[in-house]
């Protein structure tokens, strides 16, 4: 169980004051314009959204927002990785996922945050006032369709995790988790075999519903068998074929 951390978000004012044309250019430069949620929007829609967008950065291990707080903002991740988690009545922490570039955080359909989010590494995000988002949502049918699709994709990811948690043995769980993690970094380079962040083992444990010790021993076994290699900067995938085998083993 992690102790509660202080929220620390830095808003970049320059972006807030930029002219319309400049803001559109911010989107132009963004490598995500054709990835994730943004890719579903037309240029016109992007321009309108950019008009109300602000940039924020979050330092590693700091909170972006907390479960239960009023949902003031909706976020789109530009870079970095965040852990998303819920806390349950008995105090147990359930990590519900990891947000990567292109992901939409929080839904305008909720008044309060369904989950907390903290940064695992330096994170940069666009954010929008929920009210603006709702207004846009009600005005533009194509936009609400895009949102429906985004939520639907999140639903399918949640189902993936259900399949993962339904597994009984530790090795397939960890293997599948590692593969999913790699996938989320492979959208640029198909041959990528490096995940460039260190995901705390405690987070993996709370994601997969196991103890830290078991996660650790499983990772150690994978490392000993030269399937992966864990370094300070992240995880190297040495034997993808074998890892996939393990992931699919019952």
């Amino acid at each position: 169980m992690t102790s509660s951390r202080q929220t620390s978000v830095r808003i970049q004012k320059d972006s807030a004051k930029a002219s319309f044309a400049e803001k559109v250019r911010v989107c132009d430069y963004c490598e995500l314009r054709n990835r994730g949620f943004c890719s579903r929007l037309t240029d016109a829609q992007k321009a309108i959204l950019a008009d109300t967008a602000r940039l924020v950065t979050v330092e590693p291990n700091k909170a972006l927002f907390r479960q239960g707080d009023e949902t003031e903002n909706i976020y789109i991740v530009r870079s970095g990785l965040l852990r998303l988690y819920q806390r349950h009545l008995n105090g147990r922490r359930q990590v519900i996922g990891f947000a990567k570039p292109g992901d939409l955080l929080l839904s305008p359909l909720n008044e309060r945050n369904e989950y907390s989010a903290d940064a695992l590494d330096p994170v940069c995000l666009c954010h929008f006032r929920r009210q603006d988002f709702i207004a846009f949502f009600q005005r533009d049918p194509a936009f609400s369709a895009a949102l429906a699709i985004a939520i639907h994709e999140e639903l399918m990811r949640a189902r993936q995790q259900i399949a993962l948690l339904g597994q009984k043995r530790a090795e397939p769980k960890v293997a599948q988790f590692l593969l999913t993690l790699l996938e989320s970094y492979a959208w640029r380079n198909v041959e990528a075999t490096l995940v460039p962040v260190r995901v705390p083992q405690a987070d993996i444990a709370d994601f997969l519903g196991m103890t830290v010790e078991t996660v650790n021993r499983t990772l150690a076994r994978f490392a000993r068998d030269a399937i992966i290699s864990v370094a300070k900067r992240g995880i190297d995938f040495l034997d993808l074929r074998r890892l996939k085998q393990i992931a699919e083993s019952y």
Copy 2:
């Protein structure tokens, strides 16, 4: 693992041939007009939907549709209970939920069914051609908003299940499952303490990621401790307070 069952759906022609006014009346009589997905629609929207709606019934233990097939229809459950499940590469079956009256089955956003559905008891549903649904979806922004909300609710239910599966011990899992099941029958009568269907233990096991034997032993323990009482017709809840205690125990 259940053997594959034959799809057997009976379409009620009389409804298909009913006049516009009569169809609206079908909605009027439906006790679900203010529950679930339908409750989010205006009378005008309901009338348009009813225009393309057909009624179907499914016998117990028969399939309504199968994972991977082309999504021709979208369904709304009127009565009965269905199990929804996916089959994974290794052959494992993951029950992803149980559909109750008012629930929307399948998304027009998918070309193919994400999951299979079979009836646990006699089931009656409204169904719509996916194409009609999409057309409506694109034409009416308020309708796509309603759909987004429906998908979002499904997402939150999926997160509930994630929390459930994240649990390590068997008793809290089964207890929480039972409470959720009861809840889905308590929308009319708050004091309801009876679930009037027999959910096969194999389905519970594949839902919770445990074996039939463990599910059985856990249920037996609950019954021995007079927390529940399992009969042919369903489950009686004798000690809700105790069950909630167990559900929240770590």
